[in-house]
Symmetry: C2
Subunit: 359 residues, 2 copies
Amino acid sequence: VPARITLHDVARHAGVSQPTVSLVLGNHPTARVAPATRERVLAAAQTLGYRPNVVARSLVSGRSYALGVLVPDLANPFFVEVVAGAERVAAEAGYALLLCGEGTEPGRAAAHLDTLLGRQIDGVILDAANAAELADDAVAARALAGVNVVLVDQPPGRWPGVASDALAAGRLAAEHLLALGHRRLAFVGPAADVHAFRQRERGFVQALRAAGLALPSAWLRRAPATAAGGMQAMRALLAERARPTAVFCANDLVAVGALKACAAAGVRVPAELSLVGCDDVELARLVTPELTTVRVPARELGARAARLLVQRLASPEAAGERGDGEGAAPGGRAPRTAAPRLLPVRLIARGTTARAVAA
Amino acid sequence: VPARITLHDVARHAGVSQPTVSLVLGNHPTARVAPATRERVLAAAQTLGYRPNVVARSLVSGRSYALGVLVPDLANPFFVEVVAGAERVAAEAGYALLLCGEGTEPGRAAAHLDTLLGRQIDGVILDAANAAELADDAVAARALAGVNVVLVDQPPGRWPGVASDALAAGRLAAEHLLALGHRRLAFVGPAADVHAFRQRERGFVQALRAAGLALPSAWLRRAPATAAGGMQAMRALLAERARPTAVFCANDLVAVGALKACAAAGVRVPAELSLVGCDDVELARLVTPELTTVRVPARELGARAARLLVQRLASPEAAGERGDGEGAAPGGRAPRTAAPRLLPVRLIARGTTARAVAA
DNA sequence: TTGTAAGCGTTATCAT
DNA sequence: ATGATAACGCTTACAA
């Protein structure tokens, strides 16, 4: 294992002092070095193969140039996409991404945050974590006090965040089904207190109301936001005395589970039953028939969250401020009151929805 | 933002010197402190809410207690599982996991490794990276020289690693299909030089040979290891003058793509064509019919890789050594010549395979 | 323009 | 048993 090259080595090689090298390599806008020495230093660094020691830099600057991400569940491709999007932006801005174990329940999340904080993390992206609940946890609250936080798909509150237009997602699903002539609509989603899911449900119900329809409690099925959950819920739904003609699922995983349950029960989709998912993960196009769903820009969500975080880290004056969504524009000062812009979603009509058969 | 509590603060609060606190909190086996002061220090740390600064510790110890993972593609759930498995073990051992952007091609991988090295990473898990090619890249080679490396699903060589029994995977698929009476077998897999894929193919072909069968070149289709690739390859296969009665795909994504192509072409699976995938990702059970596949323990693979890495980091004498697979047993010195144990795979017969119809 | 010096929070090696 | 003291590699005043 070859010893690491330090600034000191470069300095000796270039015949200058160590801080001078630091100045050159840090190419600060204000610091001015003689072109000659600058050249010499750069050449020395080059030939020696100098790599800055980020750890040492962190110690003095107090910044680690590392970000944490917390997602509920890596088994859900949606969250993986969010992470991937965040990673890309973070890497471009020179930040590393620390992946936390799964789980955003207050207990687990608090533990993760605690270790992240010990690592001098500069900021953390909380995806679908229940921020309000989290703030109640003593450990979490303490950890959260020390870092910059950006929320993904959470209601605006103490921290800034980015979110998709989940209300519209539910509405679009409902309107699509209504336009196809469906009047007997059901919803399958988790009971968990996750903002995006709640909003999808709410948007769906609101659109039904607007059309003069109600959602009978028997057709509002609670299930974990997984394929297994969707399957089970759909089985229960099919066992009902009165069946709906269309079902909106809180996400694609649930919808695919529901689709499977239909296949198992011999219910033809979309002939006998229409199905709409939400997220538009790759899986949606892999099942047969392909899933009609509402596209939510997961990658973009992650990317924006990371960008927002990086921006706030760059401008310390904003760091302590309360959430203002997308944050100030790179140039001028945007009004602090601006509501978080919701990323648009759109309905992707595919193979699991069709016109309702005349009752 | 409350100022961080340092050892110094704790020392003042406990009325002792700062190194003493370090001694107590580090609870070294050799260091002996008076029970009284120990108590006082612990109490002070407790009330003040002291959290060690990992960055400072890293600077002096030269270890960052962070690991990197490099995977080709986060869109493939298999790799996500590997990462998740690694994360769990790493976290338990007190290591953080730095997630690198996707891509294990020499160029991208080298860049990732370079930044990881700057962060004083202690080790890196290379999943399905072409280690041989990577070592040819100047930047990568330099980076690789500075860290502990563990390979996942790569042939044993310069670095230790863990791998699944990919040869057996191919063989099991072939034997399953042969047992069902199939004699016209095809393979779809990537041309990319990825060890596991090559071995799966080889195992498959070997088993065919053993049964006195050959794999005609027209039935050996090259395609990217994605659903889109599988779809395209299967379309091409179905367009052949002579069709196979069964197809083994390099992974589940490819198989699902193939399944879709069959559905689109009106070819009934498994009645007209049997399909076998590989990996057994969740997706395999979500499609209809459920995919017959070969289960590869992805999570376990990641977990073992992380464990191996952590072990080697704990015992420096092994760190510089060449690869010896699973490494020495925690207790005694295992022979250096021990071949890497391959994690067993097993065939999961589900809905995409059936007896061959009499020709 | 450049070198000197201090200090970031630890750990580790000494004296005491 | 415990307290000075010196690193670790870097950034940032401040001096020269």
